[in-house]
Amino acid sequence: MGSNMAECHPVGFQWVMEAKRRGATVIHVDPRYTRTSANASLYVPIRAGTDIAFLGGIVNYILQNGREFREYVTAYTNAATILREDFRDTEDLSGLFSGWDPEQGAYDPASWQYEGMVAKPAVGMREVTVPVGERDGHRGDEPEPEQDPTLEHPRCVFQILKRHFSRYTPEVVEQVCGVPAELFTRVAETLCQNSGRDRTTAFAYALGWTQHSVGVQNIRCAAIIQLLLGNIGRPGGGILALRGHASIQGSTDIPTLFDLLPGYLPMPHAHHHPDLDTYCRMDAPPGGYWGRMREYTVSLLRAYFGDHARADNDWGFGLLPRIDGDHSTYPTVLAMLDGRVKGFFLLGENPAVGSANSRLHRLAMAHLEWLVVRDLVEIESASFWRDAPEIASGELRTKEIPTEVFFLPAAAHAEKDGTFTNTQRLLQWHERAVEPRGDCRSELWFMYHLGRRIREKLAGSSDPRDQAILALTWDYPTRGPYQDPDAEAVLAEINGYGPSGPLSTFTELKDDGTTSCGCWIYCGCFAGGVNQAARKKPGREQSWVAPEWGWAWPANRRILYNRASADPQGRPWSERKRYIWWDATAGRWTGHDVADIKADMAPDYRPGPGARAEMLLRGDEPFVMQADGKAWLFAPAGLRDGPLPVHYEPHESPFDNPLYEQRANPARQRFERSENRTNRDRRRFPYVLTSYRLTEHHTAGGMSRFVPFLAELQPEMFCEVSPQLAAERQLVNGGWAVITTERSAIEARVLVTDRIKPLRVGGRTVHQIGVPWHWGNRGLARGSSANDVFPILLDPNVHIQETKAATCDIRPGRLPGKEA
């Protein structure tokens, strides 16, 4: 669901086809019929933006028919945990949870907490989604949360879940999603039959699930299904995020993101984190591997600041800059439009095409004082000042744009050493084949030498402002004709050092200054001083898990939470699904993978006095990153829009919410202004618009529209419409159409196809239009940018834009000035 894997991850899809050949059932749920649908056993068309109604229907089907994997659910999830008395569900409050503050437009999550314990989330905005209480932990001296292992208590998570999803019946799924009830039931029944001790089911998703105002809750809902069916931590199970860039996982782990430090440590917040102690106390639960947050943080500060991070200066914690709000991409571009951002680096990204409301991004860049663009080719974001569509239309005039632009050519992947982290957390080293030519340089070269120059210019400064930059460790060995920093030396810093050399694993990290580590979850990738990511033992010469190809974080573990592949006593759930198990004779976990639990922690281990971190969890609790060792069916903290998924309509939708009075996600982030108006008039914008990718192009086109073969294979921007919509709007196959929203208008060739079917929803017909978003006004294949017509309207948890479900109008013809 939410993925067209056959076209967008074709080589990964070979394994789906392999599974199908061996008897697996492949189900594809998507608004468009694609090559993934063609290869599936069952295709289910769905209205864009209604995934939670569909998935919630599956949750309800499982619970109403007693199809949950009861032993797994009771032992490994928080189903038995009892919630506070003051929690109110969307059933009680017309689509809102308790704690909603209409004035703030935000939730106070206090009432979502467990009875008897305040639980902290493993990720998310910990400091703002956890109430500041006196009891801020788990175990040790803290009381246990109250439990009812019979799952009968009316306030236990299992019963709350049952009630919350009870209205998501097959009939409601049909009414909301446009999926016939019997087709939906077939899907739900297939999932149930294919789960349990002997069988597992996997979900694969991509941007079709994330790019919504309920993006995080879409995935949460899949997690609930997979936990109820016992499909997490087991071979053939899981929820697989199919990510779209070579190292988008790596750039999340070692984040070029505003709210994180490496290894999912939170970026310090001005209001909540005055010092290291408070930072760790507020954000780390005592139990589980986050109980070692202080070790991870001190080791990072040692990697960043070396001997400038000492016990007597709080390990340099005060040198870190603070955040105090949402400083993500979109608020930043709005600040740029208002003239508050002066200088901007673009490092292999093309927002003039690739970001929602891309027109606004071009206008914003015209307000910059200076812009540095590093890319392989002259992308639209580098040349907006002379050939943006707004120059042609007269909205922008080159001679009035003050922006100073530096275009620096970049090195390609074959011209540098380094690691990509792929979508399955696997670090793979790629070797430099040749040196880059001309002025082309790697980002490693650029950042290193920029930092070196700035530090030289500021050397000797006593200004407090310059303390941190001068305290950075910045002495990397260089090589080759351009003094390129040695990528292996950087990887070794990321791995970390102890008194006796490179560290082997993150449990060796200390908070006393004797270890340094640039990213704790990557600790071990350079174990023994050997580049583990460069291991390339052929797949055919090792087991099916292939543990000696590359290195997976953490600890070269290929399936996370794999303790759950064995029962509470440590025995495989079935012979067919053996993965790791307890060897009582050896007193160790053994199997096909590195166990995701301390190797010698017996299944009957119980924490005693003085235990901390992972030793506070029991030997039969697989979810080692969670404060309570349990997977969360119900999330008592960590989310800004509720502890359970709820079907809300997309911000722009032709329909009211058939389920609740509350129409759309109440916590969604809105930025209404003249440059970013959203569609309100359903008669003017009656159709659903959804964007997608093609096999032959890559994201905003910088790496594909400028490549001759790829430009030739997909030369022109188009839109997909059904024959019925074509008839309704007089659209001709191969002709032109203009798609309009409140933001802008774009033109596209029309592809009239049965692949995109009108659906019956709420007693009427709804038409959907699909648009690929790869084009721009430069390169070998040119065309309108689909992102021009989408709004900046964000999910409140991760600030991702809703570009998979908007509304629009469509008419035959071309844009003004483009008529033949």
Partner: protein, 178 residues
């Protein structure tokens, strides 16, 4: 068909498929002096690539049959990545547009690096926020932002985050949110 059967080449993939034109063709990797082991730079599947080099130029990029992920396969983008490296539209020189300028100008890499370092220092000086209205430390600039990272190496992301954090630049973002 008869010719194929006669030549014991029923699938027509052997000698019978050869014509005068194809007989003169050579494998694109012929004469490669070395092979680098790489990873496809497009999506996140992480297919193995073999990069063939002759005269210090990439002459061909093919799938790596040893990879347990891709087993030698590449998609249309991965298979076209030799053209990504050698695209006729690739830029090899720094280009500079001065404020209100109408054309690109030439600039040496060294001078560009020096000017960028100056811009960072100057903008940072003007927009520095030492603390907020209530006296809580901020130690940052909101006058500079950075975007990009998902197409880059882990090591590059590490240096980007480290340098910008040292400079007090907090508006650091990448493709993960779009």
């Amino acid at each position: 068909m008869l010719r194929q059967l006669g030549a014991r080449d029923p699938l027509g993939l052997g000698l019978t498929a050869r014509s005068e034109a194809t007989a003169g063709r050579e494998a694109r990797i012929l004469g490669a002096e070395r092979v680098a082991r790489s990873v496809c730079p497009y999506c996140a599947v992480g297919c193995g690539q073999l990069v063939y080099v002759r005269n210090e130029r990439v002459i061909q990029i093919e799938g790596d049959p040893d990879s347990p992920i891709s087993r030698g396969r590449l998609c249309p983008k991965g298979a076209a990545s030799e053209q990504l490296v050698n695209s006729p539209l690739r830029e090899y020189r720094v280009k500079y547009r001065r404020p209100y300028g109408t054309e690109w100008e030439d600039l040496s890499l060294d001078q560009a690096m020096d000017m960028i370092a100056e811009r960072v220092i100057e903008t940072r000086r003007r927009t520095w926020e030492e603390e907020d209205a209530e006296g809580r430390p901020l130690r940052r600039t909101m006058g500079i932002a950075s975007l990009g990272g998902a197409t880059l190496d882990d090591e590059e992301n590490y240096l980007i985050k480290k340098l910008f954090t040292g400079l007090g630049v907090v508006q650091v973002e990448n493709q993960a949110r779009i």
